[in-house]
């Protein structure tokens, strides 16, 4: 009887040690990998980069889309090598980080206003005022006059509007609320801007862009904001939004790029680019930054990956509905990555 028991023990122990003995073989391949976390906004292209970078001679990249807020916290705790965020770190976060960080703009993306209304396809025209009023709870029904007047010929149902938003700390929320704060004084005073806000209309919260996109797919008469790739890849209808110049513009790689052109890039690289003045620019647009420490044992490896992503990696932007960073910004990024590594 004891023999059987010890046999079982031996099997268990053998199983465990054989797991450990695999270590030396894989050391060379895996030990130099980078870990990143944060923005779900950038996840479609980030997972693409993670699969392409090693093929181009780079090291392995493990990126987990936990949300911009969680990613920044991970960076502050030093549990990851870099964070992805669609909102720059705020003063409080910078103070907690203790060591100097760099923000590198990696791509430009559009936050689309997605909806699921039976019979209404992509291209519903929404003004900034209407979007603010819907999320403030002032417009309750899809066939409200404010929506219908801009959409002659579209048959809108008399159904209650169901709003969806992010439940986690989100850079996408930061871009969306930054835009609403610029276009609606009422929004600015009542709700404000941030990675998390208290939603006046209530509604349903989803985790990550993926969570909100899933809500939009599942719930009829819903409206919510997601990064464009999530809507486009999942056949979710999205609105054309009226920009500052008065034009209704659909979110796209091109209109996001046009929006960014209207803004100068400050030295710290942390421009918010919502409510653009460009005539063909989509107004709810933002940069996603890759954020990392200026110095550190793996700073060079991280910068090397970011340099690749902001040069060769940009080629894949359009297929995934992002816009590449403008030439002027790319030059500044190269200088930023070059100078900081030279200073080290």
């Amino acid at each position: 009887m004891l023999k059987r028991l010890s046999l079982l023990c031996a099997i268990v122990i053998a199983g465990c040690t054989s797991g450990k003995s695999n270590n030396p073989d894989s050391t060379a391949a895996a030990s130099a990998g980078l870990t990143g976390a944060g923005s779900t906004f950038i996840n479609p292209i980030m997972t693409h980069w993670a699969s392409e970078y090693p093929k181009d001679g780079g090291i392995s990249i493990n990126y987990q889309s936990v949300g911009s807020g969680a990613g920044i916290n991970n960076l502050i705790d030093h549990t990851v090598d870099f964070a992805g965020s669609d909102a720059p770190m705020n003063a409080d976060e910078l103070a907690r980080a203790k060591a100097p960080v760099i923000h590198v703009p990696a791509v430009i993306g559009a936050v689309c206003v997605g909806y699921n209304v039976n019979g209404v396809s992509t291209g519903l025209k929404l003004s900034s005022q209407v979007i603010a009023d819907i999320f403030l709870g002032k417009i309750q029904y899809w066939n409200d006059k404010a929506i219908a007047s801009a959409n002659a010929g579209v048959k809108l149902p008399h159904e209650k509007i169901f709003t969806a938003h992010r439940s986690d700390g989100s850079g996408t929320t930061a871009i969306f609320t930054d835009y609403l704060s610029k276009v609606s004084p009422e929004w600015k005073s009542k709700v404000g801007q941030g990675k998390t806000v208290s939603w006046p209309e209530g509604g349903l919260g989803g985790k990550g862009n993926a969570g909100v996109a899933e809500i939009l797919k599942q719930h009829a008469n819903s409206i919510g904001y997601v990064e464009l790739a999530y809507a486009a890849q999942n056949n979710i209808a999205y609105a054309s939004v009226q920009n500052a110049a008065g034009n209704f513009v659909a979110p796209s790689s091109e209109s996001a790029a046009a929006a960014a052109e209207a803004f100068p890039m400050p030295d710290n690289m942390t421009a918010m680019i919502t409510n653009t003045s460009a005539a063909q620019g989509y107004p709810i647009t933002g940069f996603t930054w890759l954020i990392t420490y200026k110095d550190g044992p793996k700073a060079d490896a991280v910068k090397k990956f970011i340099a690749w992503a902001t040069t060769k990696g940009q080629a894949d932007c359009k297929a995934l509905y992002y816009a590449p960073i403008p030439q002027s910004v790319a030059a500044a990024v190269a200088a930023q990555l070059g100078t900081s590594s030279a200073a080290k």
Partner: protein, 294 residues
């Protein structure tokens, strides 16, 4: 029920008792059937919806870039097996030895320990994850920046979750071993530890294995404590000091996403997780066939 059915004189009082008894028996049967139906409908739903999603590539491929079709659960399957192994290495010796101690001694100290074991048993798994995050992940991060999430940290969280379950079941099973066995062994001149090791533990083996399986089944599906310890990994990893993927993490992330291929993978993952637990339990039964005492 048997008392109610036995041949009392059919007075009004006994009729009332009998019908009350039948009524309560009916409620119990109904409850048991509802429980079985719930269990079966979960199994049937998962299997019917997910079986078509399982193919060879589910086992041989890792995740694909988001938005692309295909992909597999290789990283999660291997990761879950590794995490369960680490959890067992930490949880089983402590749990079983602790259970032996709690039964074989009966002091104020061991009674206090038992109370704390019961408290430990009721700690939510996410709190255990937070604990592992604080004692493993953050200290490692301070020592080696960017290198903090690891399979080991996940295994610690799971191992600690196993301890109270294993400890409590071990103790309960050992309690069933007849005192006469112990007395006989001691009377033959065996020492206390020899009695426990060679007589009591072998006699209770089947029950202990059942307890271990329950604990393993519990941790196999844990998601919350892995979110900020094992973290997940896009790459295939078997190193204990690197982030590692796990099936429950995959199921959680994929099921809430809007992508069709990921929905299929989530269902496939659920079936594979069930299968792992089933195979484990059958294997243990087979290894101990004919010797169970529960």
């Amino acid at each position: 029920m048997t008392i109610a059915e036995s041949s009392f004189r059919s007075t009004g009082r006994s009729r009332f008792r009998r019908s009350l008894s039948a009524f309560m028996a009916g409620l119990s049967i109904a409850a048991a059937i509802i429980a079985c139906v719930a269990l079966l409908s979960v199994l049937v739903y998962i299997v019917i919806n997910g079986i078509g999603s399982i193919s060879l590539s589910t086992f041989t491929e890792g995740p694909v870039p988001q938005g692309q079709p295909g992909g597999g659960l290789r990283n999660g399957i291997v990761g879950t097996l590794i995490l369960m192994s680490i959890g067992s290495v930490i949880g089983l010796p402590i749990g079983i030895l602790g259970g032996v101690y709690q039964l074989e001694t009966n002091t104020t100290f061991s009674r206090t320990l038992r109370f704390f074991t019961d408290v430990l048993n009721s700690i939510p798994s996410i709190v255990m994850g937070l604990f592992a995050y604080l004692i493993v992940v953050l200290p490692v991060a301070a020592f080696s920046p960017g290198h903090a999430f690891s399979a080991f940290a996940g295994g610690v969280a799971l191992g600690f979750l196993m301890i109270p379950t294993v400890m409590r079941t071990t103790e309960e099973i050992l309690r069933l071993v007849p005192t006469t066995l112990r007395d006989a062994s001691l009377a033959l001149g065996a020492s206390r530890w020899r009695t426990t090791w060679s007589v009591v533990l072998p006699a209770a083996r089947g029950g202990i294995v059942t307890g271990v399986l329950l604990a393993l089944a519990r941790i196999a599906g844990e998601t919350a404590p892995l979110l900020f310890t094992a973290f997940g990994n896009l790459d295939f990893n078997v190193r204990l000091d690197h982030p590692i993927d796990a099936l429950p993490l995959n199921i959680f992330n994929y099921a809430t996403s809007p992508y069709e291929n990921l929905h299929h993978l989530a269902l496939a993952g659920a079936i594979i997780l069930l299968a792992i637990i089933l195979i484990l339990s059958l294997a243990a039964r087979y290894a101990l066939r004919g010797q169970t005492m529960e």
